[in-house]
Symmetry: C2
Subunit: 201 residues, 2 copies
């Protein structure tokens, strides 16, 4: 019932993550009904970003400059490096305000079945950086999933012969505001195992 | 922390209906991380639709032809016309498979505060069509909201001097599968008022 260009638009909007056919239809009709300028704006910013954004030479973060805003900020600790799977995870750390070191963005995780190898993640570049800047600490902040853990383990193995570089992993435990009743048992077991002593602070 | 083209992309994706800053960020990063071809596809289908889709000469439906697929389908009843607020509502009727007449798509509803007048909705064109095709029945299928009801009332008033054209409104009542406990009281009152007699069918 919709004409061809509308059908094509709906189909392509379905390519957006988290958008199904119904939301795509709603978006397409709304843009065509009375927001055509918004539609043009979206298309142009999309093409602009695709054409200008590459990866930072050091940390692989998405960036329109050769060196991203964080790697070019000299007030950040060059000798601490936090390894994350993607830009969204890096954004989460930055939003927490609790970290002032550098990052290395893998842009994925090891996944032999999907053909994603250490080379694809830029592990060579990471090791080179660690040697060059004589990094003190590598924080393995990959996701707490099977692939994330495997990737962290792989990197930790590679760093075993560098005792001068401490390798750490994010603490596991009860999330703040989390109700124990609803937390999965493995998390609870970890939280119990790594319980900390109360001190006067 | 994100570079300028990424920020601009996130902001413009927020223009999509139902997309907030967090989903927009997720979409932008996902498209840039590993779906750039999808991004180009979305941009091109958006521009293509914006450039080629206009409104049907008869019913105002979005269409890339002068006359839309429904208005150019001669097997559809020309003398019954269903008035809807937008393309999505028309799509809902078509999906129900219960209607074989024509439509008239207002592309909005009367809203004096927003400056939306009968001319903006193409009411003149609608009246012209009704006269020209000597329409038997006009089904007022605007939304069951204040503005939708006001628009329906306005059109009904204009058709008062045409006794040859029957003017109807969608039945109000309990939606199929609806649980009475959760239905609002006004709907329940309407359903009770317009209750129908059980007949052998």
């Amino acid at each position: 019932m919709f004409s061809q260009p509308i059908k094509r638009l709906i189909e392509s909007l379905c390519l957006l993550p988290g958008v199904g056919p119904r939301s795509a239809q709603r978006m397409a009709l709304s843009l065509l009904k009375n927001n055509r300028d918004n539609g043009r704006d979206i298309a142009s910013s999309l093409i602009n970003a695709i054409d200008t954004v590459g990866n930072c030479k050091y940390c692989q973060m998405l960036s329109d400059e050769e060196i991203c805003l964080i790697c070019s900020n000299h007030s950040r600790d060059q000798q601490t490096i936090c390894i994350v799977e993607g830009p969204a995870e890096m954004f989460a750390f930055e939003s927490s305000g609790a970290y002032s070191g550098r990052y290395f963005v893998l842009m994925g995780h090891l996944s032999p079945l999907d053909g994603i190898t250490p080379e694809d993640l830029g592990i060579d570049k990471l090791l080179h950086y660690i040697k060059q800047y004589n990094v003190n600490e590598v924080i393995l902040a990959t996701n707490s999933t099977v692939e994330g853990e495997a990737t962290a383990y792989y990197i930790a193995e590679l760093l075993k012969d560098r005792p001068e570089t401490k390798v750490t992993r994010l603490a596991q435990g009860v999330p703040m505001g989390g109700e124990l009743e609803f937390i999965n048992y493995n998390t609870l077991a970890q939280a119990l195992k790594y319980r900390t002593e109360l001190t006067d602070t």
